[in-house]
Subunit: 244 residues, 2 copies
DNA sequence: CGAGTACTTGACCCAGATCAAGCCATGTGG
DNA sequence: CCACATGGCTTGATCTGGGTCAAGTACTCG
């Protein structure tokens, strides 16, 4: 019920304060880095955007759906993923508030992966054609969009490196809970299976490494509840992949 | 000397015919998919671009250099790469004619990796600010740039998958020599070490798999000279990663 | 409270890394 | 024109990180 409260607040005021979300501590931190940097006001003025509410596991779009809009996560969280010919899922990314979904659909005009809510979520639909038109009139928007895509590109390339399992998990933890101060607990919205799949590891490996990190006093964790104990320790482990 | 001839031709006429490059058969095929789709005429009209000639191993830019322009490969080939704290190279991509370099510099205004010529090459420097300005006046250019970035994003994400060594190598061969008809020999401009690094494999593994492919009649290869024998056979091996 | 699902832990195995020669082409000096 | 370096490529032997298989154990929800 707390989460419902949080969501409605986020819906009415996308640029929220730094105040933490009650239910998990993780939902809204990303909004601080304002969605499309400083162009958001411009967007909301010119854009015929609409809000969508998704229930847990509800799909936002499917692969091969025609691409017509980008989606900005307002609250909650989603994952984007593919399913290969054998039916195996392949998680491409997790998306928290402030994150932009659908960039991969631009090239061919249809989405290249599925997207679904990990929990009850709200997203803002921004028609792409309108967005392109707005780039002409709204100063800075075009540059902001390019910056955003550039960032996604860098992130994807980083993920492609051949890092050890421990490096990957440490990086994931820092990325996901890294904004919070040490000790603040976070409730991860996704199961271990998804984390493992995303990091190209086996579920068991993620489990083992989490256990090991806890034994070494780097994190506190019980199931999906997780908090950082020793940020620098994690950084040392993640270091190679952070140097990119 | 043949390669010199080819280069000067490419310089004076960026949109070349499908005719193969004499020296290697690979250099110019990518230009067929015209650089920024159909916007190139528009660009060359409005853009104060300049040509750069690079000799083999000569750097185009270094990581942390200020970002001010994108580079379009005209002839030859380059690699982009990072060097981690231990001095290990990490190849991020190979770039053939038609390919756009520097997209990763947009986000923070400085380049995020090094780029250097694999052989004598020519690139076209396109100041980014001017490019953004042109997006307003040149119809289709903005969309073309976004498409280009979207494609790079998809490619990077694909590379991040956890594919077997054989899948990776097969995909690499199809990507690199795939445009040519079977049997046409290609001279790869990069050493095995770079291929291996790019695919996150050991040099020896790439070597072994190449040997295996040759034994199975899928390719012909002696050193850097390589040609495809059985395209469908390669596709079957690469299949999982192509399904994305 | 029972059933199903998520998570953890242990034992074993394998793809691919690493280590170590050899091989072949190109270049260099005698 | 021939030793003989030099660096890239190939091949073989061995090792290991993390996957797979198989049991538990602990939440969660009806």
């Amino acid at each position: 019920m707390l989460s419902i409260d949080t969501q409605s607040r986020a819906v009415s005021a996308p640029r929220v304060s730094q105040a933490q979300c009650h239910s998990c501590g993780l939902r809204e931190q990303c909004l601080v880095a304002t969605a499309l940097n400083d162009s958001e006001d411009g967007i909301s003025r010119g854009l015929r955007s609409s809000r969508l509410r998704l229930k847990q596991t509800e799909p936002l779009y499917w692969r091969d759906d025609g691409f017509s809009a980008l989606f900005l996560v307002v609250s909650g969280s989603l994952k984007s993923y593919n399913v290969d010919l054998d039916g195996n899922e392949r998680v491409r990314g997790f998306h928290f508030p402030g994150s932009l979904l659908g960039l991969d659909g631009i090239e061919r005009g249809r989405h290249r992966c599925h997207a679904a809510a990990l929990e009850d979520s709200v997203v803002c639909r921004m028609p792409f054609e309108q967005l392109l038109g707005l780039c002409v009139s709204v100063s800075g928007l075009q540059a902001a969009l390019f910056r955003r895509m550039s960032r996604e590109l860098i992130h994807a390339e980083t993920l492609a490196g051949d890092y050890s399992a421990a490096e990957r998990v440490a990086t994931f933890i820092l990325e996901t809970a890294g904004e919070l101060r040490d000790g603040t607990p976070v409730k991860l919205p996704m199961p271990r299976r998804d984390i493992a799949n995303y990091l190209r590891l086996a579920t068991e490996t993620v489990s083992r490494i989490m256990t090991d990190f806890r034994a070494r006093g780097l994190i506190e964790c019980r199931g999906r509840q997780i908090s950082i104990r020793d940020r620098d320790g994690l950084r040392v482990i993640a270091e190679p992949s952070l140097s990119n």
